[in-house]
Symmetry: C2
Subunit: 415 residues, 2 copies
Amino acid sequence: MATLNSSFISNQTLPFPSPTNLPSHSRALRRRQLVPIRMSLPDNSNSNSSTDPITSLTRLLWGRALPPQPLISAVRSTWSATWLLMMRQLAPSSSSGSYSRPPGLFPSVPSLYHSSPQTPNATNSLHLYVGLPCPWAHRTLIVRALKNLEAHLPVSVAAPGSDGSWEFHSGPTDGSVLVAGPDKANRKKNLREVYRMRRGGYDGRSTVPMLWDVKRKEVVCNESYGIIEFLNSGFAAGSGPDLCPVQLRGEIERWNQVIYPAVNNGVYRCGFAQSQEAYDTAVNELFTTLDKLESHLSTNQYLCGDTLTLSDVCLFTTLIRFDLVYNVLFKCTKRKIIEYPNLYAYTRDIYQMPKVAETCNFEAIMDGYYRTLFPLNPGGIQPIMPLVCQYESLSKPHGREVLSLKSKQLQLSPP
Amino acid sequence: MATLNSSFISNQTLPFPSPTNLPSHSRALRRRQLVPIRMSLPDNSNSNSSTDPITSLTRLLWGRALPPQPLISAVRSTWSATWLLMMRQLAPSSSSGSYSRPPGLFPSVPSLYHSSPQTPNATNSLHLYVGLPCPWAHRTLIVRALKNLEAHLPVSVAAPGSDGSWEFHSGPTDGSVLVAGPDKANRKKNLREVYRMRRGGYDGRSTVPMLWDVKRKEVVCNESYGIIEFLNSGFAAGSGPDLCPVQLRGEIERWNQVIYPAVNNGVYRCGFAQSQEAYDTAVNELFTTLDKLESHLSTNQYLCGDTLTLSDVCLFTTLIRFDLVYNVLFKCTKRKIIEYPNLYAYTRDIYQMPKVAETCNFEAIMDGYYRTLFPLNPGGIQPIMPLVCQYESLSKPHGREVLSLKSKQLQLSPP
């Protein structure tokens, strides 16, 4: 066991005699009154410690002082070394301690699933696996909703288990509300078992989102961007806006190249950094990019102007988690999103689009991150939800339609 | 070693071919281009892992999948149990896991030091020991500055050592700038040695602030409130405003009874909570109180109206650390102080008073908390400083003199 810095846990008595009696104004009286209170406190702590053998033992060994200094130093080194060992398993890193995300094994949806006259029913056997805390899976839920694919692409929602796997919960198999429930396609207990159903076997991590072919018993794609591209333009039954119009594809991909490394993966590079240097690089890149986005969004309703695109979906799923978990757990501390007026209004704009709020489950997100990423939260205590992440805050008017109107008026006005 | 939830570290490749080349707009081409990139990533991670025997071993044991689930569960339990053991030593707790601050042994300054005709020079031999990260010690530095006692009460600034003690650094003994330096009174290496110089011995924690009598070799007081009361009204040489005027003493003590348990110690009760229940109680009390203070300060420049008092000093040293460390490290996540307009302006008001900013060392505060409280920050990584805690942000006009003017005008206006 270790202990800690003296002054931070300073032997501070109440600076006033008693919580129930209003104190006298006389300093001399105050000093007299303090004595019995001070005397009573050690009794309390003794009675507590008697129920705790560790505290009794340490009380015997080093009294009320700190434990011996070599013990503190040893425990501290062991603690940090254990953390580093866990982090190496949790988050593969480069030799400099930078987090490097492992590549997926099924990066894109094979062409046989894309709608064509030859394969009109290719998507009939598809099933989507997601987890609500995960920002990558969240992308697929949003595009599925915006493209009105709910009736055409069934979804099973897993939840993080205590051992690090995605587990299914019991419940009805016909519910359409997005909460953790059963595996509606394969009736498995966890996602690992689903991955292992494929003929070729599977030795990778069992991640969400995962698009599964129920008939062929095969993983179709487990890369979020591959799935959302497919849902937008390859899935025959899709309707709703085109989130990747031909004329914007260059711009969209340029935005993706900015957002993915610095923001989407950038927050993970902050939180999973295993050296100060790796963290510093990641956090500077993250906030430099957020500053640039804040400026860009001061004159553009969305990243590519007036049109919501896949890039916005990708940015949104990170922004909506930022003040909720990344600010604290991943040490993205320079600013909260609420401190960026344009980014915060932009987040609210997308949040308020029909069916998007239903894909955001803040309790599940907080629970997922704080419980699952236990090396970063050793006590397992769940912090209180930030006020700005509550439904009421996010439902406030965003006023961003003005930006779109302005650009339209500019186009209409005579040269 | 443990590992973690699949989706959070999802096997996400870059959703675009290459960071340097602008990608083609053709989806088919993109899919072809993705392959070589995906293939190249495992090589990179292999080359990294070859330098890391642990990763090589685990790769051998469970390939690219997660470690076996029982191992994860076991490591997770051990990790949390170790955390709890460390926290029990760091922060004494009640049986319900609530932090209970240990009482001080020298709670108030004995009357012989108070100025009187019989003891005109009683304060000549006093020396103040502080540490810059500590909010309790910070109180004494502010009152010493506001009462213009710098020339009359020398101070030695210790810094948190890696083993949990307050250490002195080498440096000149005549400097007046508030940075960690040598023990100017006793030339000791750390504060523990100073405490042990007293005739009666000492078995408590060696905390700051500590008021020391150089001649008598005795601890005079190590409770911050006892010291600041004395500096305000007992120390003969003091000048400057009375921070505890007779007519306000009742009100000041009532504020102290609100602020100490819910805010000053409240943030510690959040950060040092050893059960979810203890945290929930503390965090709700903290934010309920901050909400009330925000409302009170909308019509009052200071807690007791127009007059800065000791209660304001006590509140200030917690507020100035709130967005800097408590928000993240102690999970005080509901709001940052920047999200409370009145509390934030009130903090800036006090920060901008002459000589107060010099007592605030943000680098020392962050370093002290994040490095010293290692059970709460196992990786030891220091987060980036929040923008709102920088000098430039805190120096912006606070506009709170208006509140004081208004109340004066009300007094002056005819009934």
